[in-house]
Symmetry: C2
Subunit: 381 residues, 2 copies
DNA sequence: AAAGGATCGTAGAGCGATCTACACACCCCA
DNA sequence: TGGGGTGTGTAGATCGCTCTACGATCCTTT
């Protein structure tokens, strides 16, 4: 069963019994609680308990907690002491019912992807001094972005960062009507949500110029499969980063009168490895491979190394400049589009929205090629 | 300000206005809603709306959603149609108030750490067919584990996976009274929470045997700083994986009458790099380095490569067998303790708890050294 | 035909917060 | 002395959902 459709998300599996909570008053139930182990545990204290302990009203405690107006120093001290004594912690779920959940949600298509990790790192840093907690909804295998985004929205997060999701922009706009959304990595324009993109055109152009200047002529572009079937919202403006990089490759090759060679693989580097092996077995293998991202490039490098070849045989350039790219054993040329910066910016944009901004913002991050050992002039021959 | 203490977690920063939601009835408020942009958006439909649309009671809709007993086929069809028409999605926050949130929380000390990523991958896979959604609470820089764990508990997650957290076990037990907890990676025993560990003793012993058999005598152990100050709960049983690995190193070196050399660094590989540079500059540098984990080992390798040396000069063995370790350009010998398996197991243990299990379980994952190019017999001389 | 048992559905009381509206002091000044 | 502030604190409705208790049918059975 797909657990995330409107129905099944909501539905408990038959074999999973619901968790019971002992409420303010003791629940009189003929049945023993299913999770007997936790039955006797002390009830966590509520705002009510704090109020009683401090000898004030619930509302007063709430005010102190929210740092709201109308609290005397004496009362604050009193209430804070009571909170301390009881070890009280506000229940986020209850707060979310009326106010905010102080939670920002990140939809991450691949947890293992180092570029996405950099984004999370940047955002974490930016949120450090705020009361907002970040949560990440990772995509399961074969799961679509909308599942994770919906799931974040269902959890009443105060803002959502969606990373290059393959979803219908108008669907995303509907989400953005309720919850501020920042979309990273797709070249959409919307006046409902904010966007952050790298300069994919410039980045790809730098790669192509670099390779051509080094004397490469047989250049293969290896990238991930575009969405299939072609989504109805695909277009120039809404293109995914990889699509743009590919377009630049094609333009440049065409302009130079060179033969184009584009290979598509899955996200994961192992397919890039296999694809590269096949390329190397060709009668006239490419002298350079422009990989759509570093994960693929790493896979490409492994096939090249296994074949006993090096950068003079086949040069490789990636995209994203993930941390391992600068490792001397790898030394992968790559385009830096600072994921950390993107994450920081995403957090900032969300906080701005929460502070009241209403106009959409499009933010673009510079792209800079970092040439390393993996790209070198081809051997004469 | 630290946003996560009992107080500040709860407190909105002064400049952040709360988000208002239009409830079931229109909220009559003299003030305009602060987030004016979203003011005109259609109110998301509630269970009440669905009930009206389907011509049944709220309770009936709830039953259908929860797949509970006492629903006729006719009613189910009717309600499901209404849900479909309205695009209704249940609010998790509201459900969490009484029942379950269908959310499992993972506390991840370092988002960028590939070993932890493997754990998440394994868990994601295991949860794919369940109604549970995983959320990850990443640790901010200099943040302690308890902050993230608390934050998950505050969000009423139905279960928590804590990865090798540096927290007081008795504190964790208190959390576990309310919410099932699985702790990965620390050799604690508790009858309140479940644990999953690798066989760190065996793994470390394999490393040491391997290096010694290859003829290494000057072996340095490089690992992360132990918690400082020594936490009060530290002891043999509750030791962290790194501490155990270090202990094994010391035992083996002592048994062989070899001089011990232990270097401590931060988590991040760049310090390992610097530390290795310093080691290489010694009059008698080590011929082998046993790194406490692969992240550190990668940093070690980079320093060795930069110095123009290779495995015949200084061998390196890591721990965790992260994906990049098998890359032919890196080819790092490492101990495999299947993070994916750990993640899968963690999810399984949590689901079992939710299904009613009450006794604690300790699960141990095998450790197997994968010897690769990075460890080789030292050069003569 | 009445009793008993399923089956199906509803009413209504929470869950733990937030936030508006209002009451009560107290003080100042005319 | 009375009229307004201003500063503090409380009452109480509300958010959207869950779940127990119970009522209403309908079908068997005796």
């Amino acid at each position: 069963m797909n657990p995330f459709s409107a129905f099944t998300l909501a539905r408990a599996p038959v074999e999973c019994q619901p968790i019971y909570r002992i409420g303010n008053r003791v629940v009189t139930s003929a049945e023993p609680r299913p999770d007997g182990a936790r039955a006797g545990s002390p009830r966590p204290s509520t705002i009510e308990d704090v109020a009683r302990e401090a000898g004030v009203s619930r509302a007063a405690v709430s005010k102190v907690i929210r740092n709201a107006y109308g609290v005397s120093d004496r009362m604050r001290t009193q209430v804070e002491a009571a909170i301390e004594r009881l070890g009280y912690r506000p229940r986020v779920a209850a707060r979310a019912m009326r106010g905010a959940s102080f939670t920002l949600g990140f939809e991450i298509p691949q947890v293992g992807n180092d570029f996405l990790t950099m984004i999370v790192d940047g955002a974490t840093e930016a949120l450090a001094e705020t009361p907002y907690q970040m949560i990440i909804a990772p995509l399961g295998r074969d799961q679509k972005s909308d599942v994770a985004i919906n799931s974040l929205a269902d959890r009443q997060v105060d803002g959502i960062v969606a990373i290059s999701p393959r979803v219908d922009p108008s669907w995303l706009e509907r989400i953005a009507e309720r919850t501020p959304v920042v979309m990273i990595g797709r070249h959409d324009r919307s006046d409902r949500y904010d966007t952050i993109t790298g300069d994919d055109r410039s980045g790809a152009e730098q790669v192509m110029s670099h390779l051509v200047e080094q004397g490469h002529r047989r250049i293969t572009h290896l990238t991930i499969h575009p969405s299939r079937p072609e989504p109805p919202w695909a277009g120039q403006a809404g293109d995914e980063p990889h699509v743009i990089r590919t377009a630049v490759y094609r333009e440049r090759m065409a302009a130079l009168g060179l033969e184009q060679s584009v290979v598509h693989t899955m996200f994961d580097g192992s397919e890039a490895h296999d694809a590269t092996r096949a390329l190397l077995a060709l009668p006239e293998p490419p002298t350079a491979i422009f990989a759509g991202n570093d994960t693929l490039a790493i896979g490409v490098l492994s096939a090249i190394a296994e074949a006993g070849l090096d950068e003079r045989d086949v040069s490789v350039v990636g995209y994203d400049n993930i941390p391992i790219a600068r490792h001397p054993l790898v030394s992968l040329s790559s385009v830096d589009q600072s994921g950390v910066l993107m994450g920081r910016e995403a957090a900032r944009l969300l906080l701005e929205r929460l502070a009241g901004r209403t106009e959409a913002v499009q933010s673009q991050i510079e792209a800079t090629l970092r040439a390393r050992r993996s790209s070198a002039p081809p051997r004469r021959g």
